[in-house]
Assembly symmetry: C2
Homo-oligomer: 101 residues x 2
């Protein structure tokens, strides 16, 4: 599977982040055509103690081609724009092929 | 599932990184007791173009408790020490609970 990853640093106010993220941003994300699965990781720490990261969202597509097609849609652009609006200073995006090892 | 994530920045020499990672580090990692699944993502880019990240390894455990038990083992300590040895300047670790959204 091909996935897009959104990795968010810990926000100052986790409560308002969660409210917006799950109440507004996730419903926008789930409208993206071709999106097959979404996994969330609530980051609780690191081997050194606290982590600077707070949440990771993994968005799965059937292939890189399917992801590229999805990225051209209005729904994808709206979700991306929304992420930058509410968490532009916190989020890092990257993508790639996932496989079992 | 509970997972530990190792996120590696792009190394200067990807060929020697891959050789060590898959030839030496991954076999050490897979010896960790309680480790149920390993997923690798070869990061190929970001919406802005290149990504500073190169590879993400996700290591799955049945629960946080199982992960904590695993972390106490010699095998886990050896794998962690090895990661710091060959990629201490590239790797970031974090962990948390993963769930579908």
């Amino acid at each position: 599977m091909f996935k897009m990853v959104a990795l968010y640093k810990r926000p100052e106010n986790t409560e308002s982040f969660d409210e917006y993220y799950f109440g507004t941003h996730m419903p926008l994300t789930k409208k993206i055509p071709g999106l097959q699965d979404v996994k969330i990781t609530k980051i609780s720490g690191s081997p050194m103690g606290e982590s600077e990261y707070y949440l990771m969202c993994e968005m799965y597509y059937e292939s890189k081609q399917a992801f590229k097609e999805a990225s051209k849609t209005e729904e994808s652009k709206a979700a991306g724009k929304d992420a930058m609006k509410f968490a532009g200073n916190l989020v890092t995006f990257f993508f790639g092929e996932e496989y079992g090892e």
